[in-house]
């Protein structure tokens, strides 16, 4: 008993925590490579140090002008906020409707191979680009305003929800599908009676999450003119109207926090 304890103690002296790199030499190579990359990235940024130093007093100036936040034009603020919320709700529901065909087509166990590949391609392409990039194209097609924002978020939500739905369908139990097929059900009936009951609860949770995410995104697509509070915020920054900007920022933060709390609450109840 005691000897084995001593042996353990001796081993402990030599023991080193295992690394994820396999050998310690490989670990050293990875870390040195990483350090070199950081040095390269810092030096290649051509940072103007004087400008940064000049920025520090300016930062205090801006912070001073941001405080106290100016809620005098609360009507503009409120209408921008409501527009953002409307964009988020409409886009989430439109995205949900569009995500159903995308999700079914992108599920390997339901769709034929060519349709599956096409749908997966659409999902990869759609997920890659940031919402703001998609927004700028919708602004070019539909002009400035909330329509472009609505379409952007509807598109992004359809892709996101479709991907989650497809993964859910791929992970479902095959039994109910076979059983419903065995009684001679059509494709639509299979979806309604065998697939839908298995994925609905999780999908609703994902939908609520996306509603919350859309609320967050709807505050930013306004920067390229796609409506909502982001447009108001961007305008206030370019007019150096910093006390109004800080009022908008505080309102956005509050709204996002409430949205997140609501989404967490609903998803906990769904579980």
């Amino acid at each position: 008993m005691t000897t084995s304890a001593i042996m353990h103690a001796n081993q402990a002296a030599e023991w080193r925590p295992p690394t994820i790199f396999g050998t310690r030499r490989r670990r050293a190579i990875v870390w040195i490579g990483f350090a070199l990359y950081i040095v390269w990235s810092v030096t290649s940024l051509d940072v103007d140090a004087q400008r940064i130093l000049a920025g520090i007093p300016r930062a205090f100036d801006i912070l001073a002008r941001m405080f106290p936040p100016n809620f005098e034009r609360w009507e503009i603020l409120l209408s921008g906020m409501i527009e953002s919320i409307q964009i988020a709700i409409a886009a989430s529901i439109a995205g949900l409707v569009l995500s159903i065909p995308i999700g079914i087509c992108a599920a390997r166990n339901l769709a034929p191979k060519p349709i599956y590949l096409a749908a997966r391609g659409l999902i990869v392409a759609g997920r890659t680009f940031h919402e703001v990039i998609i927004a700028i194209f919708f602004v070019k097609l539909f002009g400035f305003g909330p329509v472009a924002g609505l379409l952007t978020l509807a598109f992004a939500s359809a892709i996101f929800l479709g991907k989650m739905l497809a993964e859910d369908i791929e992970n479902m139990k095959e039994g109910p599908v076979e059983a419903v097929r065995a009684v001679g059900a059509s494709f639509g009936q299979v979806i309604y009676y065998a697939v839908l009951p298995q994925v609905i609860v999780k999908s609703l949770g994902v939908f609520i999450y996306r509603l919350d995410a859309n609320l967050r995104h709807s505050t930013v697509i306004g920067i390229v003119g796609a409506g909502g509070i982001g447009q108001t915020l961007s305008a206030s920054f370019s007019r150096y109207d910093f006390d109004f900007s800080s009022a908008i920022l505080i309102t956005i933060a509050l709204m996002v926090a409430v949205g997140e709390w609501f989404s967490d609450w609903v998803r906990r109840r769904l579980r």
Binding site: I38, S41, A59, A90, I133, G143, S234, A257
Partner: protein, 266 residues
């Protein structure tokens, strides 16, 4: 034997259940209708949207590959902004995570402070942080790095804080029993336990940040976004296509790299 009269046609839900379902659908439809009607959509724009889109694609083709050498530097800068922003955010995220975790925070007030920092950081989008930092530091990659860092702190710290709250308490007690100070306990008992979460989250956030920093240039915060925005405003569509393809490649690359590294860790 009378009992319940069974219907001749099977139906999945009872009348009451179906009523509730229809009420939910009606509620959602009403919410959608309210939202859409208040947005004052000009439906006429939809009539020729497909022609406009086709026209746009036609004008983009073929991509102007001679423009590619111009965007190599901004592309690299985009990745640098994401990396440096993530690194800086990690430095702040670890202490904030310890503040925001119930079992390591000092008292109720520090816990609230930690939580408030998390909410503040997370509820403002990276691009909006970009606006703020461009106002402070002027346009350029520094504003972008700060924006990425400001948004990532909350994300990384929140996930680390959750991991800290779920650490195995036995190890903490064992280290405390040796007379270790609080800092020593944190670094030897808690940090190794949350290290996989810490590294995994950081790499995951890095890959999100590459995507985010591709648009930071829209507000002047450096990277490829500036070139994309300028090309769109000059209607230089063949250039736009080259930039979009380049963004596509770096985003897919970073996603694949982050996925590979994370699969090695866990």
């Amino acid at each position: 034997m009378s009992g319940k009269q069974y219907p001749s046609v099977w139906q999945r839900y009872s009348a009451g259940e179906r009523l509730v379902q229809w009420l939910w659908i009606a509620g959602a439809a009403l919410a959608a209708a309210w939202s859409v009607s208040a947005l004052e959509i000009e439906w006429a724009f939809f009539a020729d949207a497909h022609e406009q889109a086709a026209d746009l694609i036609e004008r983009m083709w073929p991509p102007r590959w001679t423009y590619f050498p111009v965007i190599v530097r901004p592309l690299i800068e985009t990745i640098h902004i994401a990396t440096l922003g993530t690194m800086i955010s990690l430095v702040f995220a670890v202490p904030i995570a310890f503040l925001a975790a119930r079992n390591t925070t000092y008292n109720q007030i520090t816990w609230l402070m930690g939580r408030a920092l998390l909410v503040l950081s997370r509820s403002v989008n990276t691009v909006i942080w970009g606006l703020v930092f461009v106002a402070i530091f002027g346009p350029g990659p520094v504003a972008g790095i700060c924006a990425v860092a400001a948004r990532s702190v909350g994300f990384i710290a929140k996930l680390i804080a959750e991991a800290i709250e779920e650490v195995d308490h036995g190890q903490v007690e064992a280290i405390e029993a040796t007379g270790a100070s609080t800092l020593q306990t944190y670094s030897t008992a808690i940090l190794p336990q949350v290290l996989p979460v810490l590294i995994g989250t950081t790499i995951y956030r890095w890959d999100i940040n590459v995507r985010e920093s591709s648009v930071l240039g829209f507000v002047g915060a450096g990277g490829i976004g500036l070139y994309l925005y300028a090309s769109i405003n000059q209607f230089a569509w063949p250039q736009v296509l080259v930039i979009l393809l380049a963004i596509f490649v770096i985003v897919i690359f970073s996603e694949a790299l982050s996925g590979y590294v994370r699969s090695r860790i866990t």
